[in-house]
């Protein structure tokens, strides 16, 4: 993708409020057609939107590292993949990122929920909620905290990383950014 095309990304998005529906539609418009992952309640609205899509497919994965494998196969076949997971899945998938994607130059757009933010969550989320960004930094994997104002800019950054450097890029999603479906 050339720079002029990358610079166009998301320009029309600023006029829309960020919802699960508008975000999924935007990802599909930008060429992400293959979605997989392991659910998190914070991402349940996004997965709900994906299940109703005709242009994209969502494949339930059994584990986050298997989802990384699936995304890798999709990319190798010319389809740009998206992985949705809770930050607990970062532990499971870290070896796949370091021994596969980061050395084979295989990009994935990762949408990762942030459980355990500010130590306010169930006990099992507290440590990972504190260290997940540090783990990404240590693995030299770039990320952005997604919010209602910055998504167009962040998607542009992600696409640059993915298409030019062929490396994964992670969008971190806090509770409340997207609706939850229970």
């Amino acid at each position: 993708m050339v720079a002029s095309e990358i610079s166009k990304i998301g320009k029309s998005l600023n006029m829309f409020p960020l919802t699960s529906q508008s975000f999924i539609n935007c990802l599909i418009q930008e060429g992400y057609k293959f979605f997989t992952g392991v659910p998190c309640s914070l991402l349940s609205g996004l997965i709900y939107e994906l299940e109703g899509q005709e242009e994209a497919r969502y494949i339930p994965a059994v584990r986050e590292d298997a989802a990384v494998g699936l995304c890798t196969g999709a990319y190798l076949s010319g389809t740009m993949p998206v992985l949705l997971m809770q930050n607990s899945g970062l532990g499971y998938s870290l070896n796949a990122f370091t021994s596969l994607n980061l050395i084979y130059n295989i990009p994935i757009l990762v949408i990762m929920s942030w459980r355990g933010k500010d130590g306010k969550d169930a006990p099992e989320h507290i440590i990972m909620g504190d260290i997940d960004k540090k783990l990404l930094q240590t693995a030299r994997m770039e990320y952005s905290l997604l919010n209602k104002e910055n998504y167009a800019e962040v998607l542009k950054k992600a696409k640059k990383k993915i298409y030019e450097e062929k490396l994964p890029y992670t969008l971190i999603v806090e509770k409340g950014l997207f609706d939850e479906r229970h």
């Binding site: 293959f34 497919r57 494949i59 339930p60 994965a61 059994v62 584990r63 590292d65 298997a66 989802a67 990384v68 494998g69 699936l70 995304c71 890798t72 196969g73 999709a74 990319y75 190798l76 076949s77 010319g78 389809t79 993949p81 070896n95 796949a96 021994s99 596969l100 050395i103 084979y104 130059n105 295989i106």
Partner: protein, 186 residues
């Protein structure tokens, strides 16, 4: 039967443009040493992921027969992926497992496949056709049959752990493996 003999039987039955995803360890090295192909994806790490990568390729390239060369340790590490393959049920996927009942690359520590029949796990997960072979001269017929029938299909080949450690390693860099695989499968 030696593992290398199983590959000698299988490789002539694969067309040049058919994607083959290889598990790490001796699976890669045996296949690479016998016949390097551009449409081969060689894993140098990420144990357990050849099957999910193969599934991704099969789903996105439905017009091509996609082959996974896996090992028993790899399959046992990712048993859940058998369920993903059965659930998505790509007709064009053939999962071949070279089963030597040990972790041979790391010094022949035993795996569980002497007690757990992996072809039965695949069958009960929902693979369409599964075949277990123990003799070299059964491989060709079994593989061609599984290539013909709508999948996902599973071929388990029992071999003896007798990998020759002087077998070369894959000499391509990981980036080269990605580039040429993508070009080869279009």
């Amino acid at each position: 039967m030696k593992g290398t003999e199983a590959f000698q039987e299988l490789l002539p039955l694969i067309k040049d443009d058919e994607p083959v995803v290889h598990a790490n360890g001796f699976i890669c090295r045996e296949s690479f040493a016998l016949k390097d192909r551009e449409a081969n994806f060689y894993m140098i790490g990420s144990m357990g992921l050849a099957s999910s990568i193969g599934l991704g390729v099969a789903l996105c390239k439905p017009e091509k027969k996609v082959i996974i060369f896996d090992g028993d340790g790899n399959v046992l590490m990712a048993l859940g992926t058998l369920a993903m393959i059965a659930g998505e049920a790509p007709k064009n996927l053939i999962h071949v497992v070279i089963d030597n009942e040990v972790y041979e690359s790391t010094g022949n520590q035993r795996s569980l496949s002497s007690k757990v029949q992996l072809e039965n796990v695949a069958k009960s997960s929902g693979y369409k056709n599964t075949i277990r072979v123990e003799k070299k001269d059964e491989i060709k017929l079994a593989f061609l049959k599984l290539k013909e029938l709508p999948g996902p299909n599973f071929l388990l080949i029992k071999v003896k752990p007798c990998f020759d450690p002087s077998t070369g390693r894959v000499t391509h860099t990981p980036e080269e493996i990605t580039k040429r695989f993508m070009q080869a499968i279009g």
